[in-house]
């Protein structure tokens, strides 16, 4: 299995040289980028902390970097830690009261849902600085130059492919680290019976906060990357309810309990959306998203473990020995 894994990774790294066009490469980058973000969501989502507000962190990542560059001329290299610090602060301010006072389940989901919408409203309300609903474009640093490392602007998709792939691998590594930690077991116990877990000495607030911070920072990082790659941010696409739900559904569709699940979900949802868009076209406005929404509902009802989760289950049933040996 290990050899197979490295071979697949090498194939992925070599993919841009297979002579694929710009559009497939763009799709591949987006798959990996959203795969990274969805993985970030799943880090906490799989432990019973269902956040419907990760659009807030994505929005902070997307906007802080671009705003710092446009208004203060601050390089995204400095905007990135600034965005991460702000995302951590927001995660703490929301997370602490929620976890300290046992706001769980439905309550937690609704609070975070409101958070994502409030973030969108703040971006729109600061329209003099952010451009409001029209979105914002980072000032170009490429007067004559091919690319700018200082401004993190590269027109070449190849560069972005390797940046995003690196982040995606790092995201999988973080997922694995969390998966193998004691904290994961503790959080699983907490998600099942919070009082009992607390009674045997688990620090519920601290455990939940730490995993929330990891998840929020990953999502925020993804937001910065998204803004730099797309060179455009819009309050609707990086914050608010729409993108928050999309993240959750992506992770669920792929299977949030499996390491590669969120990535598979990202690829599936992206290809589905693009396929519907190409197949149905722009003429019938909204048909692609309607079918997409319908499929999501069906997924949650009939395949709650997601594509990869269900596949793994079927595989385990068939070859019980093989997988255990791995």
């Amino acid at each position: 299995m290990n050899v197979l894994r490295w071979a697949l990774l090498a194939a992925l790294a070599a993919a841009p040289f297979s002579g694929m066009g710009n559009y497939p490469l763009h799709l591949l980058i987006m798959c990996l980028l959203w795969g990274f973000v969805y993985t970030g969501w799943a880090v906490m989502g799989r432990l019973g902390l269902v956040s419907l507000g990760h659009g807030a962190f994505l929005g902070i990542g997307g906007y802080v970097g671009v705003m710092a560059w446009n208004h203060w001329g601050l390089s995204p290299w400095l905007g990135l830690p600034l965005a991460l610090a702000l995302a951590a602060l927001v995660a703490f301010v929301i997370g602490y009261p929620c976890f300290r006072f046992k706001i769980v389940g439905h309550y937690f989901a609704l609070v975070t849902l409101a958070l994502s919408e409030v973030t969108r409203l703040v971006i729109v309300a600061l329209r003099d600085q952010t451009g409001g609903s029209l979105g914002a474009t980072p000032r170009t640093a490429m007067q004559g130059a091919e690319w700018s490392l200082f401004a993190l602007q590269f027109p070449s998709k190849l560069v972005w492919f390797y940046i995003v792939m690196g982040c995606w691998l790092a995201g999988l590594w973080i997922w694995t680290r969390v998966d193998r930690s004691m904290a994961r077991l503790a959080l699983q116990a907490i998600s099942q019976e919070e009082e009992a877990a607390a009674s045997i000495g688990m620090n519920v607030t601290r455990l939940k906060l730490s995993v929330t911070l990891i998840s929020a920072l990953m999502t925020c990082f993804g937001g910065v990357l998204y803004a730099q790659y797309q060179q455009y941010v819009n309050p609707e696409t990086v914050s608010g309810i729409g993108i928050s739900l999309q993240m959750v559904f992506g992770a669920i569709a792929g299977g949030m309990f499996v390491r590669l699940g969120p990535t598979v979900g990202a690829a599936f949802t992206l290809l589905l959306a693009e396929g519907l868009r190409l197949g149905v076209g722009h003429d019938i406005h909204g048909l692609d998203t309607t079918l997409y929404g319908l499929m999501l509902v069906l997924f949650i009802i009939f395949m709650p473990k997601g594509i990869l989760g269900a596949a793994q289950e079927a595989w385990e049933k068939r070859y019980p020995v093989l997988l255990r040996a791995n």
Binding site: I94, K102, L113, A125, T290, G293
Partner: protein, 288 residues
């Protein structure tokens, strides 16, 4: 003392009127959560469908307004039953996370379907209610009507729950779901009745909102999140708490929006909400 002029008073009273609507929105959501233990995240989108129903029946098919209102309430009530039967019921035994997310999927679906069927244009039923003048202050008559109808609706639901046999059964189910089947109450039927009632309340809210706002597919987003906050602050499932919380939030939105942009009113309400969570995490009337 310059701030305390009649414009501020106008904002406060408008907030009071807005509070009636928010309380009505929260009531339906609370009722469903209290009985079925599921949050309809798509609640505001069902209201959007109700608003479109009024628009199409009244403006396109030429029905009289009152008939369109009744039909809209019925349509959304039926939608509520369908939502329960086809979406919520299959996941009632599943993990809580699925129950949470499945109605979120319906939110996405309804919004997209509305874009597909109705288009993205803003629509207005074109019914202009007069402005009320009181001294130097102006109030929208539509808001006053909405406030009064919302109040009447809430009293109606209260009486239904307290006085009727079915209402008693609903309250009993919300207190102990395991015992009630032994007492001869069919929970499935109670769930359907509750869903119809919750949907009907959403339809009623739609009729009141359509008098004040333009209709578009994303309108649900402008009051969905605030309704959730109202419910959580009041204590999810706690109808009296939701009622009080609705008026607190409405003041933040109305008065906050009076001093700053209207978006800031919502942001202020959210900041207040987070602060309130430190103070009373179980909701303002939570007993535990």
């Amino acid at each position: 003392m310059d701030i305390f002029d009649s414009f501020l008073l106008e904002a406060v009273i408008n907030g009071l009127l807005l509070g009636g609507i928010l309380a009505l929105l929260a009531l339906g959501l609370n009722l469903i959560f209290g009985v079925i233990d599921v949050v309809w995240i798509c609640y505001a989108e069902m209201i959007m469908i109700g608003m479109y129903s009024v628009y199409y029946l009244h403006n396109v098919y030429g029905w009289p307004l009152w008939l369109a209102f009744i039909a809209a309430v019925a349509i959304v009530a039926v939608m509520g039953v369908a939502l329960h039967q086809f979406v919520v019921k299959p996941v009632l035994a599943a993990e809580p996370i699925n129950q949470l997310l499945v109605t979120g999927g319906v939110l996405f679906l309804l919004q997209a379907a509305a874009t597909l069927v109705f288009g993205v244009e803003f629509r207005n039923i074109g019914v202009k209610l007069p402005q009320l003048q009181l001294g130097e202050m102006y109030f929208s008559f539509a808001r006053l009507v909405a406030f009064l109808v919302a109040l009447a609706g809430m009293i109606g639901v209260y009486l239904f729950l307290k006085r009727s046999y079915l209402g008693t059964a609903i309250r009993a189910i919300s207190q102990d779901r395991a015992i009630m089947p032994l007492m001869g109450v069919n929970p499935d039927r109670i769930f359907l009745v509750t869903s119809a009632l919750g949907g009907g309340l959403a339809g009623l809210a739609a009729c009141l909102l359509v008098l004040q706002y333009d209709i578009h597919p994303a309108i649900g987003l402008s009051f969905g999140p605030i309704t959730f906050l109202v419910c959580v602050l009041g204590g999810l499932g706690n109808m009296v708490g939701g009622f009080i919380a609705a008026f607190i939030f409405a003041q933040f939105i109305s008065v906050g929006g009076f001093f700053l942009h209207s978006e800031w009113g919502y942001v202020l309400a959210f900041v207040f909400f987070i602060a309130a969570m430190f103070w009373r995490p179980q909701g303002i009337l939570g007993g535990k």
